[in-house]
């Protein structure tokens, strides 16, 4: 058998540095987590079966250690103005303390540096919290600092904090059983809103009704010292530890982007289904706006514009990142796209992919993939994302 190459992970230490560990490292070991190097962090890819963990989140409740993600607290008189310059979406939309906003952060060329969530954390709009990706930490911080020039703000990274995502139709109910003191807060917590739990639970505790799975659930932030006991408490209440493998199949079914795969610094928000995150109604000057808009206009004019779609393979095989999408093969209207994320979908029991294709692609086009690179093309169905939401298939079989 050939040696397998694992997606998204390195089994070798390429940085000459031991991978970092989250406060939950021992909890993963104790729960039989299979540890791998994910962007320089030692995290579990599964705890036995990624398919079982995926199904637990879709039907019941699972939890993911996402402590490797970056939490940065912003304070200062110019916090709001700085964020309005930094981000393509507009924090002016945040009218209530705790409300969250999903946004790309662009470079000067209109390409995506990272995707992140920002919470309003005080009513004066002088305090915010940003949660962003681990793999992009250094360049995110560099961009924060670069744009901060001339603004009265401080950016305080919070590496001592841990974060656990608790997801699934029964997640909030089981969390409320584990933490009865939180029950009122949780029952009033609307989607995309966070709540400070300092008064109820203690310093640094925070919960938000957000997630990366397409199910109901929350993401809980706490001091790293409190994380292991919290993990065991949730486990005792029937919330199943779930690893990075399940996280990837869940988010792909939910049509959610993974930075570094579905988009990167060369990709515009329009090309990765993030057009809806752009706040362009007024003439707010944010980094990358001008370039992004003019490039999109140019691309439409010369017909090179791309868009993001979902692909479903109903025959045997697995769609994988990097595979070419062949459109109208063999005709004089042949075009190409590319798969940016692919996997086997445990909920649909077929392979799915997220792909970047010509924006002009329509139902009249024949879309195929050469799975083995041997010139044998199989048909795929083009679908609007998401494939699955709240446990239910979103398209007709």
């Amino acid at each position: 058998m050939t040696d397998t190459n694992t997606q998204n992970t390195n089994t070798q230490d390429t940085d000459n540095q031991a991978p970092q560990r989250t406060p939950l490292y021992q909890s993963h070991v104790d729960s039989d987590g299979k540890l791998v190097d994910f962007s320089g962090w030692e995290l579990p890819i599964n705890y036995g079966s990624q398919i079982e963990e995926h199904e637990a989140v879709r039907t019941d409740a699972g939890m993911f250690d996402v402590s490797h993600m970056v939490v940065a607290d912003i304070k200062g008189a110019d916090s709001k103005a700085w964020l309005q310059k930094l981000l393509a979406n507009d924090v002016n939309k945040l009218k209530v303390v705790g409300k969250a906003l999903y946004s790309p952060m662009l470079n000067e060329q209109g390409g995506v540096i990272d995707d992140l969530i920002v919470y309003l954390t005080n009513s004066d709009e002088t305090e915010y919290r940003i949660v962003s990706n681990a793999a992009t930490r250094d360049k995110d911080m560099a961009q924060f600092n670069k744009v901060a020039d001339g603004f009265d703000i401080t950016v305080t990274e919070r590496p001592e904090l841990a974060m656990l995502a608790v997801q699934g139709p029964n997640a909030v109910e089981k969390l409320a059983q584990a933490k009865p003191r939180w029950a009122d807060t949780l029952s009033g917590l609307k989607p995309f809103v966070g709540a400070d739990l300092t008064d109820i639970e203690g310093s640094d505790w925070f919960v938000a009704r957000t997630g990366y799975t397409g199910e109901d659930g929350v993401e809980v932030i706490m001091h790293g010292d409190d994380a292991p006991a919290f993990f065991e408490q949730l486990k005792a209440h029937g919330i199943k530890p779930a690893g990075l493998g399940a996280r990837d199949t869940l988010r792909m079914e939910a049509g959610m982007n993974l930075y570094g795969h579905d988009m990167d610094e060369t990709i515009s928000p329009y090309e990765c289904n993030m057009g809806w995150t752009l706040a362009l109604k007024d003439d707010r000057d944010f980094v990358g706006r001008t370039a992004m808009v003019s490039k999109r206009k140019q691309a439409k004019d010369d017909q090179t514009a791309m868009k993001q779609v979902g692909l479903l393979l109903t025959s045997r095989g697995v769609l994988r990142e990097g595979m070419a999408v062949t459109i109208n093969q063999g005709t004089d209207n042949e075009q190409t796209g590319i798969i940016t994320s692919g996997t086997f979908s445990p909920s649909l029991k077929n392979s799915i992919a997220i792909a970047r294709v010509p924006a002009s692609l329509s139902e009249d086009d024949k879309v195929q993939i050469d799975l083995r690179g041997k010139g044998k093309f199989v048909d795929v169905r083009v679908l609007k994302l998401p494939f699955v939401r709240n446990g239910k298939q979103q398209f007709d079989s």
Binding site: M1, T4, T6, R316, G317, F344
Partner: protein, 126 residues
């Protein structure tokens, strides 16, 4: 620590062989291999009756993570394939040496089989 049954023969690329009473040899992938692969979702098996040559790519195991080629460990003729892998490929993960067998073959030369690695030799490679 992965499981390496003492009574089987092995090749370095993580396949096992078991000599049956009728002189045929059953082939599968090892516990180490299934662990590396993760959840198996599809298996392509050779045709019954196919004549296979050592090192020829005769099967593909597709897991959530990757597609892996499986090679003919020795030359011979395929006499049976495990049809239950079609509907339940995950047996390969749960029972790689038992119900997760891939195919059975008649070796061209028994010496080829005898020359393969023992359990100890395979374990040393891991």
């Amino acid at each position: 620590m992965s499981n390496v049954p003492a009574e089987l023969k092995y090749i370095a690329s993580h396949e096992w062989l078991r000599l049956e009473d009728d002189g045929t040899v059953t082939v599968g992938i090892t516990d180490h291999a299934q662990d590396l692969l993760g959840d198996v979702v599809f298996v392509e098996l050779p045709e019954v009756g196919a004549n296979i040559s050592v090192d020829e790519e005769i099967s593909v195991v597709e897991s959530v993570k990757a597609a892996s080629d499986v090679y003919a460990p020795i030359s011979g003729e395929v006499v049976a394939v495990n049809e239950s892998l079609e509907d339940d490929p995950e047996i390969i993960n749960s029972d790689p040496y038992g119900e997760g067998w891939f195919f059975r073959m008649k070796p061209d030369n028994m010496e080829d089989y005898e020359a393969l690695m023992s359990a100890d030799e395979y374990e040393n490679e891991l």
